[in-house]
């Protein structure tokens, strides 16, 4: 029984399509006068955010509230955790308060796994260290499907769509979840990065690897840019921001080399001028703004499927 969503690997192709199709149905909610459904009335969803992330937290909050769930926001700053309370004790406190689901964002890889062992309800991983961020991958897949296959695509996967993910893969939970989910949905994924920013055994991942971004651009239907942190320069992952930008940054010239239909994505927040140029981020190919709206919709789908019935439905494979 699927009680949690911790890794994109938890989802089969049928599971992932169910989530995307459910999200498709819920998308029209945003256009209605009453943006609410009664389905999760009486359920409590706790947002347990140990890392600052206003964007993701608000997305989950909106998703839960649109399904009429009660939302409790817990942020680590200024809380008992700042005074040294352990993750386990925080979990037990939430249990005592009776939460049906906990959405957790934490700086330690594996925090969601640990939490799942201490609570009775469902755990949704909103980003654990450098491990995974499965709802980000779901909203990215949803965005790709809508943009490239249209919005009436129930049951359709991403078969044959070529996705290039660019940047600091080694430290990216978004990259890990996307590689898993997009390949499960049939996409062909390529990672483009300097060798220092790729994990050691990446050749065993279900994707191709390239050090040469320019070679990948003309054959990409989707380019997904990852955020690059300046601190990585101090740990000798690359010599300078300028060189990184020159070799792996997506500027207008590179964008022009993409096929006409290709889209540009970014999980946010962006370093404008480092991995992505401002005019690229603001161009019509960019899905950055709609990824935000799609985030609420896909998270609604996840919360509904986990909490709306007795359990996540077993989908015929």
């Amino acid at each position: 029984m699927k009680r949690h969503l911790i890794s994109a690997a938890d989802l089969s192709r049928a599971d992932a399509l169910l989530i995307l199709d459910t999200a498709e149905e819920l998308a029209s909610l945003a256009d209605r006068p009453i943006k609410k459904l009664p389905t999760l009335r009486g359920r409590t969803v706790v947002n347990l955010f140990f890392e600052d992330s206003t964007r993701t937290r608000i997305s989950f909050e909106a998703a839960a509230k649109r399904l009429s769930a009660d939302v409790i926001n817990f942020s680590a700053k200024g809380s008992s955790v700042a005074k040294g309370e352990s993750l386990k004790d925080t979990a037990l406190t939430l249990e005592a308060m009776g939460s049906d689901a906990v959405v957790i964002r934490h700086s330690a890889s594996g925090a969601a796994h640990r939490l799942a062992g201490w609570v009775q309800g469902s755990v949704v991983n909103a980003g654990d260290g450098t491990h995974e961020h499965p709802t980000q991958a779901l909203l990215d897949a949803f965005t790709i499907r809508r943009r490239l296959r249209g919005s009436s695509t129930r049951g359709a996967g991403l078969d044959g769509i070529r996705v290039t993910i660019v940047g600091d893969v080694l430290h990216s939970r978004v990259a890990r979840s996307n590689v898993l989910l997009l390949s499960t949905l049939g996409a062909e994924v390529t990672l483009a990065a300097p060798p220092t920013l790729l994990p050691l055994a990446v050749e065993n991942w279900p994707c191709a690897v390239s050090y040469d971004l320019d070679r990948e651009l003309p054959k990409s239907d989707v380019v997904m840019m990852l955020r690059v942190q300046q601190e990585r320069m101090n740990a000798a992952y690359f010599p300078s921001v300028r060189e990184y930008s020159r070799r792996y940054g997506l500027d207008a010239a590179r964008m022009a080399r993409l096929p006409d239909h290709a889209i540009v994505m970014h999980p946010g927040p962006m370093n404008r001028g480092v991995e992505i140029a401002a005019d690229v981020a603001d161009s019509v190919r960019s899905t950055i703004v709609e990824q935000v709206a799609n985030g609420v919709t896909t998270r609604m789908a996840v919360l509904y499927l986990l909490l709306g019935g007795t359990e996540f439905p077993a989908v015929a494979q």
Binding site: S86, L87, K88, H106, A108, S109, G110, A111, H113, R114, D128, G129, T130, H131, E132, R173, R176, P199, L200, A201, V202, N204, W205
Partner: protein
């Protein structure tokens, strides 16, 4: 407690490779007689049919945590665990608080061991002051102290500065000391959490590359050869490290090495659920490494098994992986794990186990009175073990800490009795 004990019908794991079934008579702290049909007059009798008699086990690498971390373990509780595991002597590592870098601290630990009386405690002295890696500790004074320190180690940390390592190796020649290195290049392992490989990439945990261990071992073997001094390599964990040690020994260089029981059995795949009970330094590696380490222990390239018993309180392990402490307990399960990994797989026989878990560690530690084969006139340090005991799940033991990776695992065998200079510390699997 009677001073005479007759162990009847036991298989003596002798150094000649014989497994001879005989009786052993212990009297006044020594092995008084061996043979068939010995008289039991004035002696307590132990029916040892089906059991194996090993010379008392010697651990070259234990953390007893006292002074400073008595919440995790004390000399009293740690030595109880040791006796239950069949050990008659343990070397207590120096990374206590305060660090064992002076005669004062090593003598304190030595006295605590004597007072507890469950096994001999031989303190290990730190190589550098405070384990800080910059100045040599007073190695000579520690050697001359009542604790008679011969093994020196900064274990927990690596002596990374090559010049300092050279000096340490040279200096201990004066009193037949040995430097035991925890091989871990600090720059290559900053923030490392798990073996660098497929698992670490998938789980999003910072990798601890094998080369960080192998490069230091290679350097230290060359240094030991250059200055002609004894090097002991702690907790070898990779196939590459075993190969380097094999090469160094083939040159006749004075290098010895140890492996932990957990590195003979467990791999990094256990980190899948992020349970920090599997977090240890050096980390669990791959199946290929485990296979090579077993081979190396079997052919003697790796000289001995050392537990690296590292107890931690519950809160240090019941947390996110990256926050958790490194280390696993091991004294009580060591012999059983070695049986599973080495004897039951046909890689090592019981005389081999005696050699790797008693004779060689005692020799490397320069420990008189231990590691002697069971022969008339020798000290009555003896472990009686039942290899055929039905596999029992590992439960809580005598150690104060519960961080064993074997919890709930069915391991074969059972330590039945342990004798320290003719006095039983463990009888029928229980502390005396």
């Amino acid at each position: 407690m009677s001073a005479r004990w007759l162990v009847k019908g036991v298989a003596i794991a002798g150094p000649g490779g014989r497994d001879e079934i005989a009786d052993i008579l212990l009297s006044d702290g020594v092995v008084a007689a061996t043979g068939a049909g010995l008289s039991d007059v004035g002696a307590q009798v132990i029916d040892a049919q089906g059991l194996v008699a090993l010379p008392g086990l010697v651990d070259l690498h234990t953390h007893l945590r006292e002074p400073g971390r008595e919440d995790a373990e004390t000399v009293e509780t740690g030595t109880r665990a040791a006796a239950l595991g069949g050990y008659t002597a343990v070397h207590a590592m120096a990374n206590t608080d305060p660090v064992a870098d002076t005669a004062g601290v090593v003598e304190q630990v030595w006295r605590l061991g004597q007072a507890a009386g469950h096994c001999d405690v031989q303190p290990v002295g730190a190589v550098t002051v405070g384990l800080a890696g910059s100045r040599l500790a007073e190695l000579g004074t520690m050697a001359d102290s009542a604790a008679r320190v011969r093994v020196f180690s900064d274990d927990g940390k690596c002596v990374a500065d090559p010049l300092l390592m050279r000096r340490a190796l040279e200096y201990v020649k004066a009193f037949d000391g040995v430097i035991a290195q925890h091989a871990q290049d600090p720059r290559l392992t900053e923030g490392a959490q798990l073996n660098e490989g497929e698992m670490s990439g998938r789980l999003g945990l910072a990798g601890w590359p094998a080369v960080a261990e192998e490069a230091i071992i290679a350097r230290d073997c060359l240094l030991a050869a250059h200055v002609g001094s004894a090097l002991h390599v702690c907790h070898v964990s990779t196939a590459g490290s075993a190969e380097i040690i094999r090469w160094a020994k083939s040159k006749g260089w004075p290098v010895t090495a140890e492996v932990t029981p957990h590195h003979l059995l467990l791999t990094d795949e256990l980190a899948e659920g992020y349970d920090p009970v599997f977090k240890v330094n050096p980390p669990l590696r791959t199946a290929a490494d485990v296979a090579e380490l077993r081979r190396a222990l079997a052919d003697g390239t790796i000289d001995c098994v050392a537990t690296d018993h590292a107890p931690h309180p519950v809160e240090a392990k019941e947390t996110e992986w990256s926050e958790a402490a490194f280390g696993m307990t091991g004294l009580e399960t060591a012999l059983r794990v070695v049986q599973l990994a080495m004897v039951d797989t046909g890689l090592l026989d019981w005389p081999g186990v005696a050699d790797r878990m008693s004779v060689r560690p005692a020799r490397i530690g320069r420990l008189a009175g231990h590691g002697a084969p069971l022969a008339v006139g020798g000290p009555a340090n003896l472990t009686l073990y039942d290899p055929a005991a039905s596999a029992e799940a590992v439960g809580p033991g005598a150690s104060k800490s519960r961080n064993t990776p074997f919890a709930g695992m069915a391991l074969p065998g059972r330590v039945v009795a342990t004798f320290l200079r003719g006095t039983p510390t463990v009888l029928d699997g229980k502390l005396v």
